[in-house]
Symmetry: C2
Amino acid sequence: METSKRLFETNRRRMLSAFAALPALPMLFPGSALADLGGDPLPSWNETASKKAIVTFVERVTKQGSPDFVPEAERIATFDNDGTLWAEQPMYFQLLFALDRVKLLAPQHPEWATTEPFASLLKGDVKGALASGEPAVMKIVVETHTGMDSVEFSQIILDWIATAKHPTTGRLFTEMIYQPMLELTAYLRANAFKTFIASGGGIDFMRPWTEKVYGIPPEQVVGSSGKTRFELRDTRPVLMRLPEIDFIDDGPGKPVGINAHIGRRPIAAFGNSDGDLQMLEWAKGGGGVRFALIVHHTDAEREWAYDRKSSVGKLDKALDAAQAEGWTVVDMKNDWKRVFAFEGK
Amino acid sequence: METSKRLFETNRRRMLSAFAALPALPMLFPGSALADLGGDPLPSWNETASKKAIVTFVERVTKQGSPDFVPEAERIATFDNDGTLWAEQPMYFQLLFALDRVKLLAPQHPEWATTEPFASLLKGDVKGALASGEPAVMKIVVETHTGMDSVEFSQIILDWIATAKHPTTGRLFTEMIYQPMLELTAYLRANAFKTFIASGGGIDFMRPWTEKVYGIPPEQVVGSSGKTRFELRDTRPVLMRLPEIDFIDDGPGKPVGINAHIGRRPIAAFGNSDGDLQMLEWAKGGGGVRFALIVHHTDAEREWAYDRKSSVGKLDKALDAAQAEGWTVVDMKNDWKRVFAFEGK
């Protein structure tokens, strides 16, 4: 399992392609209700330095007449997704989607019984399936993420996310979101920030549900993507998902993706791993007051504890940078009153 | 001149790359004030079928309880820029920027006196400069649009657009915007639409000024782009503009770019040329009530008259499609009370 996790970490750039577009559909996402902003806007945060740093920043940039005041249009905040807004253990949820989809499609692919990486996957041997590395990952991505049109893919994601369960908690994946971070996104929006996701994950894996779950609409989601092609199917226009990587929104790709999609530099950025380092540097590198925050996974009881040596969400260089630069590092165990909404208040 | 225009039309896909990102700067853009929305929201439109079609569409999708009602979040409208929001004659304004920039940079490039395409350009021989076709165009793009960082490029654009004058009207380019279309974007926003630009032009050529001029923020601008790379210059993070095309947002690329940036299908789209055909098809191809509009340049006195045989903004197949499908075709001469704000009311 460790090997397969490492492999997927290594190959994440190739793995996490995506596409799609679909008007938000009415769905039920238990546990994702936005916090009541009456009174304390951050009720799931303990009264520690992290919360104070957030509130101080927001007050500084929103105070009219202050030298630190930032006009509303420039209040751009970017959030990583995996490990920052929702959990990423025991492996990226998009990978779990891909594995589920292989199982679902297997009856239509009798040849997979004797074709790698599918044969091993279907026997439950993830490690063996991925032994060949990147070619195996690409084969899985091609079979699970491409070949359909953008609307069809959105529906596939919606069907999966409405029913699939997390392998250790048994919860819906949309219940595996961090309540304190959900409150934080809402707090920023209440202060006229525009909140964006900037994730290494697939843009079209996220877009079908981010509005319902996070209050972040599809046009404010940045992520990795595959190429699409406009076609007329009979007379009906479709965007076909092609088996070709378009862009990897990770590491030094994050500022590139943020610039391409938003065209402004964030004044606040939120991440949890080395894949977020350049995004945080980019946000901090602008003029005026800037805010950078790292979620440090320190809570083995309520969530998971991991950092420098983790194969998923490795936090090493970015932790050093945070300490050197004085960025806010959230100690999940001590800073968060609760992690998930399903814990109860 | 005709040849060079055709050449640029042909090579537009390669030509119009761009990048950038900069917080909006205080600038004066005469003639771009948004319409007073008290009373008639479209005062520069005559009471013809085009105006009626627009108002009828907006009323249908915004009426609570109506079967055609569209929730606010899904009210996405996309506008082409060249020839739809501002003029595009005698040639694309971004091309005029590139030519101006060659002249500006010439003193730092003594070798250009004997190097094509620059030698011909500097002698005023645009046609000769572009005789070699695409390689010449790419050389001009590389010298004028790349090699600097994103912030520097934004400033270059802002400096140019604040001072450069249109070759035949002598007006600032930001005065060459269509007052009726400006009113239309504002009318849609007043009805909770989110307005986007989807242009074949360079995304970073537009973003520095679209918010001030059109009320459309940089994160709602889709366009052609070049690649950028994240770098640390000393310790300062920058996005360097590379001499490599990333994406061409034209023709069948428009639905692709719209999907990549917005992640939702527009319910209304506005264009003026064959480069907008697929965007209009894509918008119309969704469910429910949809709106597609083409600006037909029929006014040789107040603007320019051109369509099927024009080398710039050719409108041929899209005009046939509009007639076959019943899309709204704006007859600029008869439908618009005034074209530019500087005409006076």
